[in-house]
């Protein structure tokens, strides 16, 4: 099993973070705690879904990205991006104008990752034979794959052992460029990511030895750069770059993009909290038979990606209109030899479970800890205020038993202990300072938070 440290794309800017708890409350795996007034992400539990980044009111959560200037090192500078990238631009900008913007940024070749999507889908369909029980689960969304690894380990064998669309596009781009005489070392592949999960997965693939991509670019960053130099009119014809793009490919990353391809008895779910609810049921055998499940972490699929600028519904709208102008996958012809030589590269290694919620490897000790959690829960107020720095009372009880927190972190128990003369008021105050930082208690009229947030 791969024991190397889990790579994460999400980081906390300790200068900006002021411990407001928004992220802590939105995390689907309860991986965030507040320590010394700052959000701290547990690397084992985090699945890089980006919900924390979405919830943060002060942009304190950011993604690690590669420097765009490194493209200069390569003769063939390839940009790969999912079609939602086009979808997020206002409709006054044509695809041609956006493509020209990318060329002006210094790229020499442009590939949308969904071409030729039909090869990957064919391969995904074939992978259904490798699943012995239950539905085939798409490996498309890396946040979902990581969620299943850590929270639903019994379902890892249901995940399709096929790589992601960016792998397909990268292999395809390399193949096409080599035909034009390019050497491997001359090709730089830069992937524009719509979300933190794909950034993490491209950097540290779940079931591959190493990533095929040279650099990863934040979609928000490149959107802003293009808006600065996008031409008012089209000057050159860039349509050759899109000749392998199909209607199905454009809709691929949106809800039902995969199921409408897969057909049979399949279902699509978007939104990580919806996915969690469904996987709970699937694991309990409480759902009818399905052949295929498309699970996407963001609402509206990748159109709702955390690094997109446009509104997710407008993005879907533009892509649907765009798809209608493109040929169906069956009408696109590429040589069968090209297809077969790439399809063999799309098979990934086995995905391993990574359960992170186990209290103790030893069952007797785990049982003892569970009992203590229940005993502690009897003492806690059960209102999940987050005042202790954990997302809810149950999480605090777990932290206490695992030696990561103390019962006296609970602000209610502190009052009780002081009243019962079990704790000095000074001690209770210093406990609060440990969680929330000393500055939190200084009067400050410029303090962030608590001012009609969310209205």
């Amino acid at each position: 099993m791969n024991k190397k440290a889990k790579y994460h794309a999400l980081k906390v800017d300790t200068e900006k973070c002021f411990g407001c708890t928004h992220c802590m409350k939105s995390c689907p795996t309860e991986s965030i705690r507040i320590v010394d007034g700052i959000a701290v992400i547990d690397a084992e539990r985090c699945v890089d879904c980006g919900n924390c980044m979405r919830a943060c009111p002060v942009d304190a959560i950011y993604v690690v990205q590669d420097d765009l200037s490194q493209i200069e090192l390569y003769k063939y500078r390839v940009v790969l991006f999912p079609s939602v990238f086009i979808g997020q631009f206002p409709e006054i900008y044509t695809e041609g104008q956006i493509y020209e913007g990318l060329l002006r940024l210094g790229f020499t070749h442009i590939f949308e990752v969904e071409q030729p999507a039909e090869w990957l889908m064919e391969s995904v369909k074939e992978s259904s034979e490798e699943v012995t029980e239950g539905p085939l689960i798409s490996s498309f969304c890396p946040a979902v794959v990581r969620l299943i690894q850590c929270k639903y380990p019994s379902l890892v064998d249901n995940i399709s052992r096929r790589k992601a669309p960016h792998d397909l596009a990268a292999h395809f781009a390399i193949q096409q460029l080599k035909k034009q005489g390019a050497d491997d070392h001359e090709i730089g592949i830069f992937y524009v990511s719509p979300c933190s999960a794909k950034m993490a997965a491209v950097n540290q693939p779940v079931a591959e030895k190493e990533s095929i991509v040279t650099g990863i670019i934040n979609m928000k960053d490149i959107y802003n750069r293009i808006m600065k130099l996008i031409p008012a009119q089209e000057h050159t014809d860039t349509s050759a770059f899109r000749k392998h793009l199909s209607r199905e490919g454009i809709l691929w990353s949106l809800p039902r993009g995969e199921t409408s391809w897969y057909k049979k008895k399949s279902m699509a779910i978007d939104g990580i909290h919806n996915v969690v609810k469904f996987l709970e049921r699937l694991e309990n055998d409480e759902v009818p038979h399905f052949d295929f499940l498309e699970l996407k972490s963001c609402n509206q699929g990748c159109a709702g990606g955390i690094l997109l600028t446009g509104n997710r519904f407008l993005t879907v709208e533009r892509l649907q209109k765009r798809a209608a102008r493109y040929p169906g996958a069956g009408q696109i012809t590429i040589s069968a030899w090209d297809k077969e030589s790439i399809k063999v590269k799309l098979v990934s290694e086995k995905i391993e479970p990574r359960p992170v919620f186990v209290l103790d490897e030893n069952r007797a000790r785990a049982l003892d800890k569970m009992q203590r959690i229940n005993d502690i829960l009897c003492q806690l107020p059960g209102i999940d205020c987050g005042g202790c720095g954990a997302p809810n009372c149950h999480a605090l009880a777990e932290d206490v038993v695992l030696g990561k927190a103390r019962m006296s972190n609970c602000v209610f128990l502190q009052k009780k202990y002081v009243k019962e003369h079990k704790m000095k008021a000074e001690k209770a105050y210093s406990n609060l300072e440990k969680v929330w930082g000393k500055k939190r208690f200084e009067a400050d009229c410029n303090k962030k938070g608590g001012r009609n947030e969310g209205f």
Partner: protein, 139 residues
């Protein structure tokens, strides 16, 4: 050392049938029980919960989570099972039309419990209720 868990079930309340099995599943996962055993247990508990919701007036699930096994007692106050042997047969059901229309009552409940457990005992008194006791050993 064993952990006791208790859940109430109301007859006819299918929306909450499944709460006990979900909670038990969470506990078992944290205890590092293997996925296959968890699945067997969860399926058996869920079937028992649905049985209470479908047939009885009210009932409860008591789980004793031990180091090597789990014991579950599902007791209800309800009409009881007239012929236990017949009720165990796959496909046999006395579920009402309403229950069947909701997608339950296919007659697989008890046989599914038997399939997924290591020990099963059913005790029933007509007009009073039923006590289903089962045990699963972790592999």
């Amino acid at each position: 050392m064993a952990l006791e868990l208790e859940f109430k079930i109301t007859g006819g309340d299918f929306s909450n049938a499944g709460k006990a099995s979900s909670q038990i599943k969470k506990v078992l996962k944290q205890l590092n029980i293997d996925a296959k055993s968890i699945k067997r247990i969860v399926v058996a508990v869920y079937e028992a919960e649905v049985n209470v919701a479908a047939h009885a007036w009210e009932g409860e699930v008591k789980a004793t989570v031990g180091e090597n096994d789990i014991q579950i007692v599902v007791s209800d106050r309800g009409p009881g099972i007239e012929n236990i042997e017949r009720a165990m047969q796959p496909g046999f059901s006395t579920a009402s039309k309403e229950v069947r229309e909701m997608g339950f009552g296919a007659g697989m409940g008890l046989s599914n419990i038997q399939k997924n457990t290591d020990e099963l005992n059913i005790e029933s008194h007509a007009g009073e209720g039923t006590i289903v006791t089962f045990r699963c050993f972790y592999s």
